[in-house]
């Protein structure tokens, strides 16, 4: 099992959800995060004083999937989330040692 940790622009979440559904993956966990990278934020002015906003809103999608599903998913996600502008985000891949489905107690791949 692998975990895909996908950092995307907020407005791309809906498309990722649709893609993922179409690939037969059902579970995912989403959170609101802030990020910076090459995209360096922007300057704002508040009451005449500059503020550097260097963390921009992003969405993090976490998905634990079977080993075999990884490559296909990555390809699909890159396709729907890419705009070509900096700030598009990243996908990180981790190994997952085990998974437990609380409702049933199942473990391993069948817990997904």
């Amino acid at each position: 099992m692998k975990k895909l940790e996908i950092i995307i622009r907020p407005e791309k979440l809906e498309e990722v959800k649709e893609l993922v559904n179409s690939k037969g993956v059902f579970g995912m966990t989403v959170s609101m995060v802030s990020g910076c990278g090459l995209q360096k934020g922007r300057k704002e002015i508040y009451r005449g004083t500059e503020i550097n906003i260097n963390l921009l809103p992003k969405i993090k999608v976490e998905m634990v999937v079977k080993d075999g599903a990884v490559e296909d998913l990555i390809e699909g996600i890159v396709k729907v989330t890419k705009t070509g502008q900096i700030g598009d985000g990243k996908i990180f891949i981790y190994n997952v040692e085990d998974a437990i489905k609380i409702r049933t107690g199942e473990r391993g791949d069948s817990a997904l």
């Binding site: 907020p10 407005e11 791309k12 979440l13 809906e14 498309e15 649709e18 989403v30 959170s31 609101m32």
Partner: protein, 444 residues
């Protein structure tokens, strides 16, 4: 409000002319006096109307975010339903001709009102009374918040504004038996607040506590409200509205009483704010904002009965005591009798309403115990409060009993956990993210 016969007589002496003489031709001193009284009463009524915004904010701020839509809907519908119920039914029971000292008999849908004279145009008087009526019901919504079925609450409101409140109102202000006894409840510590508060007591106990309020082990848990700023804005709007509620209850802008009533209202609210802040500071080590805000309301509720009868110093003392009493009352209901009242409505309106009514017996410049008036007035005040509270309790018991049997008062545990906003209204109060072509709704 007609209050009692004496006030009525006084007003009539001042006016001395039928209200129909409203500047038909050239203005006269008499027609101008009617106009001043009308303008005053209407503006006061507008302020009372705004109290509904105050109640909405207080109750929403002091409950959880997941029930915010529901509590707002309850408060908002209370105005609408209360006004319509009072129009078709309540006003007639309250101010129609007296039947056996108990109930009025005409004026339903403003029909048959010829001959009714309140010193100002009937519509102005009706308007003031109508916005008043709805405040009584709205008190109940706070105490029953976060677990009561929406439909059940709405039906209860219909009954309170049609029957409970108008009947007690008739006793006190409509020429009924209490007004004949000389019971003083100038702007409604009993008629509005205690009636609301004791109805709330019955409602809150019949619907049961919120899940998680009392652990099986008996431990009492706190469930903080979701927005203190909302609660504070609400209290300030209520205080503002109270300057319509109390001074406006003269139904006359040509009496200097409006000024002294404004003063007692301001002083009692201020004194109670200070005493509840200090007392919470001593008792719990830090000045508690939620008790201080409640304390302010406690003082205002307490002065409402006697606002025209006591001195400024009397108002300050009543306020100081009410602020402290309320804190004890909150603890008592929360920890001893274990009735779950998320916003403290029972303590603020029920207990302090009763307290304020009885204090008139002590502090009334004219006839109070402390002014050498003996105990007669005190007795009448106590009786009036007790009878009204008892009637409110019985009525609430009957109405909620029937509703409970017919449809149930309480939402399912699952709905309660998820929040009544989703369960009853299918929407949440706050939406955090929403972006992109294909609309994104994150449930955070």
């Amino acid at each position: 409000m007609k209050k009692n016969f004496m006030v009525l007589l006084a007003i009539m002496m001042i006016v001395l002319i039928p209200s129909a003489v409203f500047a038909a031709d050239e203005p006269t001193a008499a027609s101008n006096a009617v106009a001043i009284n009308t303008v005053w009463t209407l503006i006061a009524a507008f302020l009372v109307f705004l109290m509904h915004a105050g109640f909405t904010c207080v109750e929403a701020g002091f409950t959880q975010a997941k029930n915010t839509v529901n509590i707002i809907m309850k408060n908002f519908m209370t105005v609408a339903i209360g006004v319509i119920a009072f129009y078709f039914i309540g006003f007639g029971f309250m101010f129609g001709d007296d039947v056996l000292g108990i109930i009025g008999n005409k004026g339903f849908a403003l029909i048959g009102t010829e001959g009714m004279d309140f010193g100002i145009p009937l519509h102005a008087y009706w308007f003031f009374q109508a916005v008043f009526a709805a405040t009584c019901a709205t008190i109940v919504s706070g105490a029953m918040a976060e677990r009561t079925k929406f439909a059940a609450y709405l039906l209860f409101t219909v009954f309170v504004c049609s029957i409970t409140y108008p009947i007690i109102g008739h006793w006190i202000w409509g020429g009924g038996w209490l007004s004949k006894l000389g019971f003083i409840d100038f702007a409604g510590s009993t008629a509005v607040h205690a009636v609301g508060g004791f109805s709330a007591l019955v409602g809150a106990s019949m619907v049961g506590a919120r899940i998680g309020k009392y652990s099986p082990s008996g431990k009492v848990n706190a469930i903080p409200g979701h927005s203190i700023p909302l609660g504070a804005i609400g209290v300030l709007l209520l205080w503002f509205g109270w300057f319509g509620f109390n001074p406006g209850s003269t139904i006359s802008g040509t009496t200097p009483d409006i000024a002294s009533i404004a003063v007692t209202t301001l002083l009692a609210g201020s004194a109670a704010t200070i005493s509840s802040m200090l007392f919470s500071w001593i008792k719990y080590k830090k000045p508690d904002i939620s008790l201080t805000l409640n304390g302010c309301l406690a003082g205002l509720v307490a002065i409402t009965a006697g606002c025209s009868a006591v001195t400024p110093n009397g108002a300050i003392i009543i306020g100081l005591l009410a602020g402290v009493l309320m804190i004890y009352a909150v603890e008592f209901f929360d920890k001893v009798v274990k009735i779950d009242d998320p916003v403290g409505a029972i303590s603020v309106h029920g207990i302090c309403g009763g307290f304020g009514t009885i204090m008139v017996g002590f502090f009334a410049k004219d006839g109070g115990v402390f002014y050498g008036g003996g105990f007669a007035k005190l007795g009448i005040q106590t009786l009036g409060f007790a009878a009204s509270a008892a009637f409110a309790v019985i009525m609430a018991f009957v109405i909620f009993g029937v509703l409970k049997a017919a449809m149930g008062l309480r939402v399912s545990d699952e709905e309660q956990r998820e929040g009544l906003d989703i369960g009853e209204h299918g929407i949440q109060a706050y939406t955090n993210i929403s972006a992109s072509e294909n609309f994104v709704e994150l449930e955070l």
